[in-house]
Symmetry: C2
Subunit: 178 residues, 2 copies
């Protein structure tokens, strides 16, 4: 893993701002207090889509562990909103096989239903790309459903492609549960 | 990262056998001598498909580093073949967000052209699944091209699916170079 550049935070900061090209403030959740708030969102995400979830508290505890290991970052919009955060992204980093750089995987991107279509997803995504660049990754990737048309439009508008090269064959994501 | 169970190796072993359901012997490359041999294959893979490669020596050195970190495993078929190894797989492990288990990503699967259609890919894939199970992962995933029909048939025959659930929408892999 490459050394993480300064994220604009002091070691005691609960959150740090993530510079990106838009007006919506995105922060990096660094400490357990911020991650406890963040843990609600992946729980809500899976609940909305009928997928299993270990619960908000278990997710928050796991985020604390993963962020502590240095290989995961959690980005939030609306962290100070009195009715709770408005969206989150989870990034996973690992050293690339093909270069001396790291590669970044966008594991989760979620905006709460009441805040959709307002640019928060785009702000989060741009902040994710900025974090991947700051950590000197040479690629960022993700998997998403054919059905999630709004997300796919956003990814494509932000320069992601689901083909091998421009106009090449599609790239499918396969998985097997164990 | 969960603790790696014993792979049937002693600490001094260069390679260790990976048990799987087939007759083709698959070994885990553990030491620099074995990884130096293995590094030739991802180089050959990218050369065959016209993709950039840092060269066999750089790949071997990177594999030594990644395997040493404990988050990567390299599986080989035909390691003792006098004309070189016949195939390899590279697995990446990381702790899951959604459970206390790890998740496994099949980053590379390659069989040299002269040995294709002989069951080596299937043997490697089954050994990969066995390693993911041995490391108590709850999922194994990968990305592959629509054009790679032989590989897709193999993945589907071995229980991988490219949809959300059985018969659900397709899952696309998106990436953006940075």
């Amino acid at each position: 893993m490459t050394t993480e550049p300064d994220a604009g935070s002091t070691p005691d900061a609960v959150r740090a701002p993530v510079p990106h090209a838009g007006a919506v403030p995105v922060t990096l959740a660094l400490r357990p207090e911020a991650l406890a708030v963040a843990g609600r969102l992946p729980h809500d995400f899976n609940t909305e889509y009928g997928d299993p979830t270990p619960g908000a508290d278990a997710l928050a505890a796991r985020l604390v562990e993963l962020v502590g290991d240095g290989g995961t970052e959690v980005l939030i919009v609306g962290a100070d909103n009195p009715s709770g955060p408005e969206g989150l992204a989870v990034l996973r980093f690992r050293p690339s096989l093909w270069s001396a750089a790291d590669e970044c995987y966008l594991a989760e991107l979620y905006v709460v239903p009441r805040c959709r279509a307002g640019g928060l997803g785009r702000a989060l995504l741009r902040a994710c790309v900025a974090r991947a660049v700051a950590r000197r990754c040479d690629v960022i990737d993700l998997a998403t459903s054919e059905d999630d048309v709004a997300a796919r439009h956003l990814y494509e508008a932000e320069g992601f492609h689901r083909t091998e090269g421009e106009g090449g064959p599609l790239t499918f994501h396969y998985e097997r549960e164990l």
